[in-house]
């Protein structure tokens, strides 16, 4: 189990690096697909089977396909190369490593007491109970916000058509 975890983790880091470092936008997008799918695999290993399946359904099967679609529509294969770094790359790297290390420390401190592995248990029933019971207000608020975003996107695209 831990061997699979480390393989997944190493592949995840590699593909995440690929997203940022690869020269071709399409290659980066494919690396991002891989990274998101691996995250879903890690979710499943942590016992969150429903979350893993939704991650693949929403991110890999939905959002990434739209992103690839946009890349295909907007760029010629030859022109898809672009510069990956500018003058501030060193500073940015130091900053992001610092933030990452800080987050890791914080998580370690917090979860040392609370986290214990739930084992492989079906989670969809309890997720449903939580979403429509205890968490109904945040759930409805999020869906309202998403609906507002959807209506806003339609409105903006309509306005641009008029000009």
């Amino acid at each position: 189990m831990s061997l699979i975890f480390y393989v997944f983790g190493a592949l995840l880091v590699l593909s995440a690096l690929g997203v940022v470092l690869l020269k071709n936008v399409f290659h980066s997008a494919i690396a991002l697909v891989m990274a998101l799918a691996l995250v879903a695999g890690i979710f499943v290993m942590l016992g969150a089977d429903f979350l893993g399946a939704s991650q693949i359904l929403v991110y890999v099967g939905g959002i990434m396909i739209i992103m690839l679609f946009v890349i295909m529509l907007s760029q010629q294969p030859v022109e898809a190369l672009q510069r990956q770094v500018n003058e501030q790359w060193l500073l940015a790297m130091i900053l992001s490593i610092a933030i990452g290390a800080g987050l890791a420390e914080g998580f370690k401190k917090y979860f040392a007491y609370h986290f214990k592995s739930p084992g492989l248990m079906p989670t969809s029933v309890s997720i449903g109970r939580l979403l429509l019971g205890e968490m109904i207000v945040p759930f409805e608020a999020v869906s309202l916000a998403l609906l507002a975003a959807l209506v806003g996107a339609v409105l903006f695209s309509q306005e641009q058509k008029d000009k």
Partner: protein
């Protein structure tokens, strides 16, 4: 097909071109894991079976997109773009058409769904989901239409429309790579039929007598084969839809009806 020359065009992106058939083919076979092929014959008894199949089968589009982009060919590119638009759109009513089943039986486990359908109305008529008045039929029709669209079969095969796009996304693929694309496509036809058999036709349930002489896996395969036949029947019967009509049909007809169907199912569940 094994001995045909593998041609990679000069303008192609070698890696993407090589990976595309793999990315299209691999998910097709992972999807068969939670399919209940008969009573007690389930490869993996997943709690999130339906969601798992719907999620993983969406991954193959990425293979098609990679094929379309990596070939460095205008026709392939157009085929890939059409595939993305079509498959993402039709996935939504397809998922929504399964929702009434999940509402009625209260589980996503395909095995439990087939078990729940093995009852009888008035002691002789099979209580399969497709025979539930109105909701069953609407649900099944939407699922069937969307499955045909998701598997790129003919009335909806605009990603590879040969009269417009040569062969769409797989124009530049030859030999075994081409074979892999087609293997994936027919695996999906079989998967969609198997899913429909499990979700709407009671899986391995016999037609009149429960647990008769004919074993459940034979019933399941028979139902699946009939549905595969229906898919091929569509192919030779209907003309291809135009791109814009195809999208309108999805968003303005299938989607509202699947929402209405979910509301109807909610009413049914409330009454019973």
């Amino acid at each position: 097909m094994f001995f045909k020359e593998d041609i990679v065009p000069q303008g192609a992106d070698r890696w993407i071109h090589w990976l595309a058939p793999v990315a299209a083919c691999a998910p097709a076979f992972i999807c068969f894991a939670p399919v209940p092929f008969g009573r007690d014959i389930v490869p993996v008894d997943l709690d999130t079976g339906v969601l798992f199949i719907l999620a993983i089968s969406g991954l193959s589009v990425i293979g098609i997109l990679m094929g379309g982009w990596g070939s460095g060919n205008k026709y392939s590119m157009l085929g890939g773009v059409r595939a993305a638009a079509q498959l993402v759109s039709y996935e939504i009513p397809r998922v929504l058409s399964v929702v009434p089943i999940l509402m009625l039986y209260g589980t996503q486990n395909l095995r439990l769904i087939t078990m729940a359908q093995q009852a009888r109305w008035f002691n002789f008529f099979p209580k399969w989901f497709v025979f539930y008045p109105v909701i069953g039929q609407i649900s099944f029709l939407i699922f069937l239409i969307c499955s045909v669209a998701e598997t790129n079969r003919t009335p909806f095969d605009i990603p590879e429309a040969e009269s417009e796009l040569v062969a769409g996304f797989h124009t530049e693929f030859s030999g075994l790579k081409f074979a892999f694309f087609f293997l994936a496509e027919y695996a999906y036809v079989f998967l969609a039929s198997a899913m429909a058999a499990a979700l709407f036709f009671g899986g391995g349930d016999g037609l009149w007598v429960r647990g008769g002489i004919i074993p459940s896996w034979l019933w399941f395969l028979a139902k699946t084969s009939v549905l595969v036949f229906v898919f091929l029947w569509f192919r030779w019967t209907y003309p291809r839809l135009r791109v814009d009509r195809l999208m309108q049909f999805c968003w303005k007809f299938l989607l509202p009806w699947s929402f209405i169907n979910i509301a109807l199912t909610g009413a049914w569940v409330l009454v019973h």
